[in-house]
Amino acid sequence: MNIFVCIKQVPDTETKIKLNADATGIDSAGIKWIMSPFDEFAVEEGLRLKEKNAGSTVTVLSAGPARVVDTLRTALAMGADNGIHIELPENADNNMSAKALAGALKKEPQVDIVFMGKEAIDDGAAQVSQLTSEYMGIPCVTVALAVEYSATSVKCKREIEGGAFEMIEASLPALIAAQKGLNEPRYASLPNIMKAKKKEVKMLKAADVGVSDADQKIRYKGLQLPPPKPAGKKISGDPAAQAKELVRLLHEEAKVI
């Protein structure tokens, strides 16, 4: 099988976000970059599928500036066979990324299945999986919690509102967007980390995959950080007085009741 996994490089979850000078994006100085955690589930799923089907290959793709190659190496260290880096500008939006990924995938002689995370934890937009599948003209299942594979189709269990689940069957090739719980991503072994340094990462320019500036649909004009959390208030007194004071504060100050 020819398995593909799209991954995104995002700031580490503990990052203290700062805005850049003209407030059109974040200041990337000093940021630790990691693979978006949902994409780790996608990589793991791709690797497990490969292990069950001898002769398969897993190719990881990422669109973004040069630094995303490090994250591709992380996926290669987990066990992916090769990588494709599509060079996009720092501020590429979901549409541009999806078109670039689809463009790169369409250049491949055969694509049997594509995985990615259900969303990236930086913008949390959850757009790229659906857009990519649209550009490719293949079915898409999002928020996948479990996948059963057969030669020509996949059955996915996905989470829907109200804590319920549904089963969706899709014919292959298909794109599956992973939810937390799909699997437990592995920790790269040291021999694989060493090997990953020597694996091939193919470089593509935006133009190679049919992407131009016009594909950037969203432009940020002025970003603001959320206001700092005010200090908490401690209510004292006996329980009855405390309850009374709480109600008063919620009503008069917070104006929520």
């Binding site: 580490d12 203290k16 630790k32 990691i34 920790y187 072994s189 040291l190």
Partner: protein
Amino acid sequence: MTWQTFLFIAVAAAAFGYSGYRFKILFNMMKMHQGKSSRLNLISERIMTAIVNVLGQKAVLKKKNAGIMHAIIFWGFIVITTGTLEQFATTLYAPANFEFIGQSAYKGLAFLQDFFTVAVLLAVFYACYRRFVVRPEGLGKSRDANIVLALTGSLMVSILLMNAFHILGLDPWYKHSLAFSNGIAQALSSLGLSPEAYTNLGTFFKWIHMGLVLGFAVYIPSSKHLHIVAAGPNTFLRTLPREKGMKPINFEDETVTQYGAAKITDLSWKDALDYYSCTECGRCQDLCPAHNTQKPLTPKMLILDLKENMYRNKEKLLAGKYEEISPIMDENVTEDVIWACTSCRACEIACPVFIEHTDKIYEIRRNLVMMESKFPAEVQSVFKNMETNASPWAFSAADRGNWAEGLAIKTMAEDANVDVLLWVGCAGSYDDRNKKVLKAFASLLKKAGVKFAILGTEEQCTGDPARRIGNEYLYQTLAKANIETLNRYAVKQIVTACPHCFNTIKNEYKDFGGQYEVHHHSQYIAKLIGEGKLKPTKGVDETVTFHDSCYLGRWNNVYDQPRDVIKSLPAVRLVEMKSNHDQSMCCGAGGGRMWMEETIGKRVNVARTEQALATKAGIIAASCPFCMTMMSDGVKTKDMQDKVRVMDIAELMDQATP
């Protein structure tokens, strides 16, 4: 030459030949190990340790009754062997007795031999009493041990009977020196046999004795009694000094393809010598916090299981068929066994023959983590946090210096001209309870007028958790980054309130180019008190018990300074727990256990807290952030938080110092 000479030559040649062959196999198995271990530094210290601990039996005597018993058997063995050699010599050539040493010396020797024969026999009786009546748990049941005791007892009895009958038959000139044998001879004289008959009986028991000795020689290589050959060299080759660091791996060396120990041969020849030396005494197991809280790990069984694995793979090992050797991890050495170790080192300190258990566990963990990515699931986020934020906990690296906000503490970047660098550590930086400890210690430094600074956001985790868990690669990344920073500031003096940071920076950074004078805060505070720079005057009217941190005590021999600090506090009464100093019990957090779930058996921290509560002390004093967490949790589990406080020695000192 008599028929006896011929017979002896034949039997002895066969016995020693076969025994030698078996020893050769043991030696070859040792040689086929591929792990490296060089131990020929500090030769004079090695000679000293061998004299004190082998001839002097110091380590064995740490346990009183069993130790005395063993020392008698050991010294007896040496003295009696002189007699055995004389028997061999005279059997080969009758006049070759040892009387040439002079009459009185010979009489003295005879007396000693006779005395020790009886003493050893009594010791054997005591050993049987211990094994069959007292039955200490650590000793277990052992057919091998029973055989050895039976053989040793028979050897002594045969000597006594041989001597007694010879006295009756030959009436030797030195017979009064053989006080006990002579007494037995008096009793046996009532048999009323002829002198020839007595002599023949004496010769008979001499042959029994020599036969048993030769039998022993053949039996030893496959027995725990092998320790009589291996323990001496093992003591000589022990790790010196005690403050040992873990062996670094050279990741640049591309010829290395195996990290850690997957197979028995990935360990070193010294590990094999350790198995040969094990006496199965169980002292290690008695002190093991994992074993004592029902985890499947016992250091004794680990050694025996590894030995068993080696014997199971003997043929393949000797033939050099490394690929066919079965893995270390099997039904005995399971992941639960390997992950249960807190690396408290109680086993190594207890072991009378200086076996090094933790080295093996570390090597096995390295293979599990780096080669197979196998470790408790919760550890993955620890590694990831260390990789991205240089802390085992999920906090931003940018917040590392926040604890010091408003305290007017400078960073090295601001002013590197200081007496000492305060190494804060991850717990001190991020854990709310331990931040208070750091604040107290910083306050003490100020009170004493010490000029210090911190690294702030330039500090990273020392890497210790990764290293103990087996992720040497991650450890080295962090260690090298820290060393680069420390060397950039030309740091010479470091003080830290964390024994794990202390141990790593002091004993392990030097392998990567980091040489510093490192102090634990207990040492530093004690020094400041000694210099008169800190004067605790406010009374703390409390009973305090001190919990030893393993990485301070057993790993670095620091037992006194934290106690000195406590004793310097006016009105404080220091009481010791049941286990203290080098016999102390771990809190359960070492060896990376801090970040692992504890699902099997009783919780180690609760067991230790119970010991602390038994002292009725109002304050449990700690000197380690992990001990602080574990003991505080233990106190809460026992619902004693209203009556008992857990405090760091720096906090106690700060309170008492105006």
